[in-house]
């Protein structure tokens, strides 16, 4: 059979948007409100800019080493052992992300949909549902991203339309009142709502336009811009609805915002249950690429061609990881912190290192 193992530019955009948007869209306004107050939009924009730089670097790597996949490039640039160490951290990072995703989902589903079901059941069923897609190749993951992308966009538009009437814009004021020393922490917080774009490391070698690098750069940057706009909109809406003090006390203000929506004469009264259901799909679209990358990394570490082989054995590991936190707060303190540290190593440092070494090698080659 002819395998068209390719993913188009439109798919890449959808893939990034649906991978990046996950838990962050629910918790980011609260985090920003705590970290910096009314001016949360500044770290969101800065986080977006840093992500764009990061995405740009990832794209550049594949320009320096054309026609190679991420693992070949990494081996060539860093040497086998250093690179293996890095991707092992990358793997742990992916596992932690997945554990945090499934635990967050389980806790929220428990809170809003199934009060009496034990979270263990919710976690394991979700992981099992995801294994089916994680076994497939990147073009399927790309198609998935593209299917979830319109759902996200439409949901956000519906949210804007129905919450506009009840919000109070004055709550967003005053602006530019923040303490500059708090900014770095806030930017870091917002930046971690943008991670997920590292799926580009696995997607670009299969892109339809891989020979036309500027096109991929453009689509991936536009995807990050879309995400930034969505985050800004959600932050603005929740801030205007609740005001700063109320916002600081709500872990997931976006859901509360949805709860406020009143649809007179409509078939559905409480939208939060429906929103949770749709959000399950969104989390699935974040989980699937992460699962896929974890499988790819393992298959590469063990030099096996098929990554589908490793998907099933990963289930218990994710499950155990996700049960480490004792309560909702610890998801953030234990898993969240782990993700942040490992994420900096695998998403920021690893690509930048490869890029710098590649740049250096290109220079030297040019000198010779």
């Amino acid at each position: 059979m002819r395998e068209t193992n390719e993913i188009s530019s439109v798919q890449i955009r959808g893939l990034i948007v649906s991978t990046v948007i996950g838990v962050g869209i629910l918790s980011l306004p609260n985090k920003m409100a705590i970290a910096i107050g009314n001016d949360g939009w500044i770290p969101i924009i800065l986080g977006g800019i840093f992500s764009i730089i990061n995405v740009f670097i990832i794209n550049k790597i594949f320009q320096i080493y054309p026609n190679k996949d991420f693992f070949e490039i990494g081996r060539e640039a860093l040497g086998k052992w250093v690179f293996n160490f890095f991707i092992f951290i990358f793997f742990i990072y992916n596992m932690a992300v997945m554990a945090s995703l499934s635990r967050n989902l389980a806790e929220l589903v428990k809170a809003f949909l199934l009060e009496t079901t034990p979270p263990e059941v919710l976690i394991i069923t979700f992981i099992l549902a995801t294994t089916y897609i994680a076994r497939s190749e990147i073009q399927i993951i790309g198609r998935l991203g593209y299917h979830i992308y319109p759902i996200i966009i439409v949901s956000i538009i519906i949210l804007i339309i129905f919450s506009l009437p009840s919000i109070d814009y004055t709550n967003a004021l005053p602006v530019f009142q923040f303490d500059i020393s708090k900014l770095p922490k806030a930017v870091l917080d917002s930046y971690f709502s943008f991670v997920g774009f590292e799926i580009l490391l696995f997607a670009i070698p299969f892109a339809e336009d891989r020979n036309n690098n500027s096109k991929i750069v453009r689509t991936s940057i536009s995807a990050i811009i879309i995400v930034t706009i969505i985050y800004l909109v959600v932050f603005f809406l929740t801030l205007s609805q609740y005001g700063l003090h109320s916002l600081q006390r709500q872990a997931f203000p976006t859901i509360s915002l949805i709860k406020e929506i009143d649809l007179p004469g409509f078939f559905i009264e409480n939208l939060d249950g429906v929103a949770m259901a749709i959000w399950t799909l969104v989390i699935f679209a974040t989980m699937a690429p992460t699962y896929y990358s974890a499988g790819k990394i393992l298959s590469n570490l063990f030099a096996v061609r098929e990554h589908g082989f490793f998907i099933i054995p990963m289930i218990p590991i994710i499950y155990i990881f996700s049960l480490i936190p004792q309560n909702v707060l610890q998801i953030e303190t234990i898993l969240g912190t782990t993700i942040n540290y490992l994420g900096i190593i695998s998403v920021v440092i690893l690509p930048t290192l490869i890029y710098l070494i590649g740049l250096f090698k290109v220079r030297r080659r040019a000198d010779e």
Binding site: M1, R2, E269
Partner: protein, 504 residues
């Protein structure tokens, strides 16, 4: 068995008689021709497969009455006899020569007549296929209010003619293959030479060639044998009874496969987008077609989701609905002794029973079954209090919407998934429905149809070229200037707008 035919006619006939031993439908008619020198000839055919008038009048009659044959002498006849018979005697329009015995056997079995002549190393094949067939009638599964009313029949040749009549272009290619060791069924692969993607064409031919089976009875068997994922509940190949649909598909760069003895033509590649198209969409005004397209999409979701949503709302999340509606639902279920899952399963199984028995017995009894099943059981079940009246509405809507999807096979695939989703909903409520949907979405996007993603054009390929114009939307025909891109047509432009329409 001898490989080629021998000069001695009796040996040849002995071989044939041996092979066709106990076949009562084989006819071997021996004649002797010539006044001076009598030549033995034999006509072999299968009774019922040939046009008897044609053979008796234009073959036997011609041979016995032709003056030149009667009069030939010993001199030089060896070189001339076949020539004379071939060129001057036989009135048939289809004639050929053959000297391989196994091919001759195949030819006899396929309904042509073979003429053996004593002393000749070739047999003459007379095209005489003609058997009792059903006439061209209106397709039963795809009726239209407006549009052509011709449907395919069981005879391959009539079917290819129906297509040829619609596309009078030398680029319309019809290539033949035989499938089945025993049935030796003719399979025609039809395509437009200058539009079709050669890769897909090669793939189709290879897959058909690789089939090794004793017999195929219908195109659906061929479909199962060549599709990408045979385990899936969903068809990855489209089928139609309408020659106009096939002609339209060919002009889009797709490939049609027609199997002898089957009135259903196969079209590859098929995607969700094409399975939701009906040929009438193109004959109605675009506004109506647009509404119908959207309605089918709604039907798709109703068909898979509604019973599962009912269960999850009743059993897990009554709070999602407005308070009044919740009270009403609770009141309608007040007498129902079962949990909602059992209730739903009871009703779904009843509906499937009615449906199944209705298709087994058609005609007036079928209608009775419909009335008894649908009306009386439904009414009685509600009155007896074993199901709620809301559930009857939901099950009815689900069943009706499954018929609103143009592809019957696709709708039946959804039916299977509906039961899975019901089970998911019973265990985990709305979250379970979502998990079920995740698995369903995964399954759908993993499907391919001959290298084309099954979920095209919603898969993110070819969107920029305006693929949605003829799938999610139905634009007026003036806007469909290019062929759909999922078939990778080599000739992209379908129409040029020469006549400027006046919009105001």
């Amino acid at each position: 068995m001898q490989k080629i035919i021998l000069k001695d006619i009796e040996n040849n006939l002995k071989v044939i008689e041996e092979l066709f031993k106990d076949c009562y439908d084989i006819i071997i008619r021996r004649i002797e021709v010539g006044d001076v020198y009598r030549v033995k000839m034999a006509i072999v055919y299968i009774d019922g497969l040939i046009n008897k008038d044609h053979i008796s009048e234009y073959t036997i009659g011609a041979l016995l009455s032709e003056e030149e044959v009667k009069n030939f002498s010993l001199q030089g006849f060896k070189s001339k006899l076949t020539d004379i018979i071939y060129k001057e005697v036989l009135y048939s329009s289809e004639l050929s020569e053959e000297h391989h015995m196994d091919k001759i056997i195949d030819i006899i079995l396929s309904g042509d007549t073979v003429l053996f002549i004593d002393g000749m190393e070739q047999a003459i094949i007379i095209g005489s296929k003609g058997w009792a067939t059903r006439g061209i009638s209106e397709p039963e599964t795809e009726t239209v209010v407006r549009g052509p009313r011709e449907g395919f029949t069981e005879v391959l040749k009539i079917n290819t003619t129906l297509i040829r009549r619609r596309i009078r272009d030398t680029n319309l290619k019809i290539t033949m293959q035989k499938v089945g060791r025993r049935s030796k069924t003719d399979v025609a692969v039809i395509y437009m030479d200058d539009i079709v993607d050669k890769g897909v064409l090669q793939e189709v031919n290879e897959r058909i060639r690789s089939i090794d089976i004793d017999a195929i009875q219908d195109s659906s068997m061929l479909e199962n044998l060549i599709e990408d994922n045979y385990l899936s509940a969903f068809p990855q190949i489209e089928n139609t009874e309408r020659p106009d649909s096939v002609a339209a598909a060919l002009c889009e760069g797709r490939i049609a496969i027609i199997v002898d003895n089957s009135p259903f033509a196969l079209i590859v590649p098929a995607t969700i987008g094409t399975l939701f198209q009906s040929s009438e969409d193109y004959y109605n005004r675009w506004t109506e077609s647009q509404i119908l397209r959207s309605l089918r999409l709604v039907a798709f979701f109703l068909c898979v989701l509604s019973p599962a949503l009912y269960i999850s709302i009743i059993s897990y999340h009554p709070g999602i609905l407005p308070t009044k509606l919740t009270y009403y639902l609770a009141a309608s279920r007040i007498n129902v002794p079962f949990p909602s899952v059992v209730e739903t399963f009871l009703m779904e199984i009843t509906i499937e029973l009615i449906r199944e028995s209705g298709t087994r017995i058609s005609g007036p009894i079928g209608t009775t079954i419909g009335i008894v099943g649908g009306l009386i059981i439904g009414q009685a079940a509600v009155e007896a209090g074993i199901v709620s009246s809301i559930l009857i509405i939901i099950v009815a809507v689900t069943t009706i919407s499954s018929f609103a999807i143009p592809s019957y096979e696709f709708a039946s695939g959804l039916r299977v998934w509906r039961f899975l989703l019901i089970i998911f909903a019973a265990f985990l409520g709305l979250y379970g429905v979502m998990l079920g949907l995740i698995v369903l979405i995964t399954h759908l996007i993993k499907l391919n149809s001959f290298g084309v993603p099954f979920t095209s054009p919603y898969s993110g390929l070819g969107i920029s070229q305006g693929e949605l114009k003829d799938t999610l939307f139905k634009s007026p025909i003036q806007y469909l200037e290019e062929r759909p891109t999922f078939t990778k047509p080599r000739n992209k432009v379908r129409m040029r707008r020469t006549w400027k329409d006046e919009r105001d």
